[in-house]
């Protein structure tokens, strides 16, 4: 028994300082849990007179199959939801857990703000004047337009916005693009794909994130945010288990967040300067001879060149850029160089939201590599092998071979469609079936800008399905200009997102709770789970599912032969063929179907340090300290060549990089990108979630706020060289006095709570207006855009 301290009434009611004194927790010991692991017992838990149906939770985005849920329906109305203990969510079978969003899912289905009918624009773009139309009329108008444009400008004149990972789009949407003949899948450039590409060109198939966290001694979290982006998908729980098991954690993020509060060392880095820190860590490890000599001699390409290259990047140098004390940089570098096994979880914050995200990720990968931590137990990767699934479903065929190969593709040795990409996200030469995600990608923002610049040609028609371009990328002002000039914009969404006012047609989308078309599987050592969404309610009004939308569009285009003649059930049955299950089996399973493992296979330790295999695709079969995969090749805008060695660029506006600008704009701002109470810019209208974040917030250190006469809860004007927003101050000690952190996307109001929507342009509350959007500044390899800038702040007096 440890030391006992008091928690008084005052603490409980006001949350004051008493418990803070107890926060220094002593020895972390293994915990005995009171939960029964017996899944059957857990499954039987639910209340009486209700019907239970299965659904994949939609709260991290439509068409996701991360968390399986049981939906309790009473008198025809969905009233409660819980995690499905059959599925193996979060920490495994028996887990009934969900996050706050998952617990609010019913409120999305019954949201009074849903779109119910097809609408056609009758006013000017942006004016918001629409009238009701029919699906038939809308489909005809869309098909006529797409056919006409295909004839006149070529099929590549059509592009589709890619929201966050979206199963409908990467299956039916890709197939539609391929059959139509366009490569222009407009990928956000804010994605794990960015990080994956950087890792691939540096480490091949090796990984930095530990595959066996229970054996990790030092776990470095770098710009990763799983307590916001994926609470119920295992990582937060596994990290807390590891901490109890003695793993030391370094958390490198501008804000002390929920999991960061449990770290041993918090490194409050200035947003956007992680590349400088990574280079300084490499410098320290190499200069102090802390690297693994065997590994660097045998498995590194150009280690000597890297060693020479990082010489100028000392801790002193990085301190100026990162705002971190030199001693802390050295401490962190020393720990990383001397603690083994060490694994690094690096995230979106640094990989795909910084202008130099590619080199930043590569520099981090190189830290993991040269310290000899790749593919060792508890180090990077080296996951235990998961036995084969008990059954398999068929991969969706996106008909890649239908994408036309142009003469230029042929001549330059590109894969089909590459030369027609309007704005290649990664360089054309890099995109091929071995490296791309589900097909060719144009970058979202750059592709929309083609409408204005007509360089190399303007997109003529764009589809937005479950994506708000005013929240999903940078500078709404420029997006609005592009949408105004765009020939034809059509939207399919559950909600009237800000961009709908600029659309020609807006079509009502059903949620995935109103159709039975999304299935998914989970394979674990215990067995394999499969389930489909059961229909919980009839589609609202005339809304149609994301899947049916594409089926109808394909029919209207005359592509029916390639789209099961509009029969989604046939499409699903084809994927289930050979699995041993029919669509009817799945639709009848109220908790999904779990097939326990009978083959006796177990999770096994992998073959460690399997470098020959992991590095097989890399030049010379080695880790690219000196990068010969990309070095000397054209960048993604074909305006220059990519380098060979990690470069630090930094944000377009920064304290150290642009000191003159910093005199007028003395503070740094960034945003959290993913947050645990919304899905990107969606779900701010959900009452249970909005209640917990009623107003557009900005975290500010109290010392800074007081300097400007800003009290906790005051509204502030926050102005960058690119735009300004109104945000409500929330005091926080866990943020540097020179940094502000906010969250983007406030376009939904909440009728139930009487809370308004906030605009996305200047004077609104969307941080995307603050950032630089100069295409020349974007990452030259994978198009990442900066999410950091400088601002000046002032208090907004009430009523203004």
């Amino acid at each position: 028994m440890g030391e006992e301290r008091s928690l008084t009434r005052r603490t409980f009611m006001a949350g004051t300082a008493a418990l803070g004194a107890m926060a220094a927790l002593a020895g972390a010991m293994p915990q005995t849990l009171a939960y029964a692991d017996d899944a059957k017992k857990m499954a039987a838990s639910s209340s009486d007179a209700t019907e239970v149906k299965h659904a994949w939770c939609q709260m991290c985005g439509p068409a996701k199959t991360a968390c399986s849920t049981l939906c309790h329906i009473k008198d025809g109305r969905w009233v409660h939801v819980e995690g499905n203990p059959e599925a193996g969510n979060n920490y495994g079978r028996g887990s009934k857990t969900l996050c706050a969003k998952g617990n609010s899912a019913m409120q999305v289905l019954y949201d009074p703000a849903r779109i119910t009918y097809p609408m056609k624009r009758v006013g000017e773009k942006g004016e918001g004047k629409f009238e009701r139309t029919t699906w038939d009329e809308a489909y005809k108008a869309i098909a006529d337009k797409l056919k006409e444009q295909k004839e006149k400008y070529g099929p590549e004149s059509y592009g589709v916005l890619s929201p966050q990972a979206y199963q409908v789009l990467w299956t039916l949407g890709r197939r539609f693009l391929n059959v139509h003949g366009s490569p222009n899948y407009m990928h956000s450039a804010i994605c794990a794909l960015q990080r994956a590409a950087s890792k691939k060109i540096c480490l091949g198939s090796a990984d930095c994130d530990p595959g066996q966290l229970d054996k990790t001694k030092l776990y470095v979290i770098w710009g990763a945010n799983p307590e916001n982006s994926a609470i119920n998908q295992g990582k937060p729980n596994a990290r807390l288990d590891a901490i109890e098991n003695g793993t030391k954690v370094i958390d490198i993020r501008p804000m002390l967040d929920g999991l960061g509060a449990h770290a041993d060392i918090w490194v409050p880095i200035r947003p956007g300067t992680d590349g400088a820190l990574a280079l300084a860590v490499l410098n320290h490890i190499i200069t102090n001879d802390l690297y693994d000599h065997d590994f660097t001699a045998n498995w590194c390409n150009g280690f000597d060149k890297l060693a020479e290259h990082v010489k100028p990047f000392t801790a002193e140098w990085a301190s100026e850029h990162t705002g971190l004390p030199k001693e802390q940089i050295e401490e962190v570098a020393h720990l990383m160089g001397t603690t083994k096994p060490m694994g690094i979880l690096y995230g979106n914050g640094i990989g795909d939201q910084q202008n130099d995200g590619n080199w930043t990720c590569i520099a981090i990968c190189l830290i993991e590599a040269i310290t000899g931590n790749l593919d060792i137990a508890g180090g990077g990767g080296a996951k235990k092998t998961v036995p084969k699934p008990m059954f398999e479903t068929k991969k969706f065929d996106i008909l890649t071979d239908r994408l036309p190969k142009s003469a230029e593709d042929e001549e330059k040795g590109y894969f089909a469609g590459m030369s027609k990409l309007v704005a290649p996200e990664t360089p054309r030469w890099y995109q091929n079936p071995k490296t791309w995600e589900s097909g060719p990608n144009s970058a979202y923002f750059k592709a929309l800008m083609s409408i204005l610049t007509e360089d190399p040609y303007p997109l003529r028609a764009v589809l937005g399905q479950a994506s708000n371009p005013f929240g999903a990328t940078r500078q709404p002002k420029k997006i609005a200009e592009a949408l105004k000039k765009l020939d034809f914009y059509f939207v399919h969404d559950t909600h009237w997102n800000t961009s709908c006012d600029y659309a020609d047609y807006v079509l009502p989308a059903a949620t995935h709770y109103e159709c039975s078309q999304q299935f998914g599987t989970k394979n674990t050592p215990a067995g394999t789970f499969i389930a489909i969404n059961q229909k919980i309610a009839e589609p609202l009004g005339e809304s149609r599912s994301d899947w049916d939308f594409y089926m109808g569009l394909a029919q209207a285009m005359g592509y029916g032969d390639d789209f099961w003649n509009g029969d989604m059930d046939a499409c699903l049955s084809e994927q289930l063929d050979g699995s041993g299950f029919t669509l009817e089996d799945l639709r009848a399973a109220n908790q999904g179907i779990f097939v326990a493992r009978t083959d006796g296979a177990k999770a096994e330790e992998p073959t460690y340090q399997n470098y020959e295999k992991l590095f097989a695709a890399l030049p010379n079969g080695k880790v690219q300290c000196y990068n010969e995969w990309i070095g000397g090749k054209p960048n993604n805008t074909e305006t220059g060549e990519l380098g060979y060695l990690p470069e630090y660029v930094g944000p377009p506006e920064s304290l150290a990089g642009t000191p003159e600008l910093a005199e007028e704009y003395p503070l740094i701002i960034s945003d959290v990108h993913a947050y645990r109470l919304c899905n990107h810019s969606y779900y701010v209208g959900v009452p249970y979630l909005r209640e917990l974040q009623p107003y557009p917030w900005v975290k500010i250190n109290p010392d800074t706020a007081k300097k400007y006469g800003i009290a906790d809860g005051d509204w502030m004007k926050v102005e960058s060289p690119h735009g300004w927003v109104k945000l409500r101050a929330e005091y926080k000690e866990g943020i540097s006095p020179e940094v502000l952190m906010t969250r983007r996307g406030w376009w939904q109001d909440c009728q139930e709570l009487g809370l308004p929507a906030y605009g996305c342009f200047d004077g609104g509350s969307d941080s995307t207006v603050l950032y630089d959007s100069t295409i020349e500044n974007f990452d030259p390899f994978h198009s990442a855009m900066s999410k950091q800038t400088l601002v000046k702040i002032s208090k907004i007096e009430e009523g203004k």
């Binding site: 028994m1 440890g2 006992e4 301290r5 008091s6 928690l7 009434r9 603490t11 409980f12 004051t16 418990l19 803070g20 107890m22 220094a24 927790l25 002593a26 972390a28 293994p30 915990q31 005995t32 849990l33 009171a34 029964a36 017992k41 857990m42 838990s45 209340s47 009233v79 819980e82 995690g83 009934k96 857990t97 969900l98 996050c99 706050a100 617990n103 019913m106 307590e227 609470i231 119920n232 937060p236 729980n237 807390l240 002390l256 929920g258 999991l259 509060a261 918090w266 645990r676 109470l677 009452p687 909005r690 209640e691 917990l692 000690e733 866990g734 943020i735 540097s736 139930e752 709570l753």
Partner: protein, 177 residues
């Protein structure tokens, strides 16, 4: 008297995700913007660059000697024999707020129907006698919140650095670490 049940909040595992708060609301039919039977509290101390943040999920403490029960003039509050859960009969509640002033933790809240507070999900059908968990506990993604007989919770807590919830008179059935 059967075993006394209660809650145990492990602050070393709480990340303030709010899942427990929302699960409580949806399972107990509580509208947003009204009351909250459960709240995640945050206690901050220290200053940048070495601040600490501690999160703790709290609700009614189902005291062994509930002050609310003692003062209720309508006999609306009772402590269950079998599990020690303190429950309120809204049909008897007259909304006088005596219980609020008596409770050392300020737990009772009021709606048009009467006093409202945590009943360990008994009211929505959770069978704690069969080992089922209140929904706040079942939904916790990080295993930071526990429920069960106090002796079992004490055993779990003894593995950690204990923090005691003090109230001399009411003996709350709540542990923290």
């Amino acid at each position: 008297m059967g075993k006394q049940y209660g809650f145990y909040a492990d602050t070393s595992r709480c990340i303030k995700c709010w899942a427990c708060e929302v699960a409580c609301k949806q399972w107990n039919g509580i509208k947003a913007g009204t009351i909250a039977r459960r709240k995640v509290h945050e206690i901050d101390s220290g200053k940048f660059p070495t601040p600490t943040r501690t999160f703790i999920s709290m609700s009614c403490m189902h005291c062994a000697e509930p002050a609310c029960e003692k003062v209720c003039p309508a006999g609306a509050i009772s402590k269950r024999e079998e599990d020690g859960i303190v429950v309120v009969d809204k049909n008897k509640c007259i909304g006088c707020h005596y219980c609020f002033f008596a409770c050392p933790f300020g737990v009772p809240e009021y709606t048009d129907a009467g006093m409202d507070k945590c009943d360990a999900c008994l009211g929505n059908g959770v069978k704690i006698d069969e080992g089922e968990m209140p929904h706040c506990v079942a939904t916790c993604p990080t295993k930071a919140l526990h429920f069960g007989p106090m002796d079992e919770l004490r055993e779990m807590q003894s593995q950690k650095t204990a923090k005691k919830v003090v109230s001399d008179s009411t003996r709350p059935s709540f542990l923290a670490s």
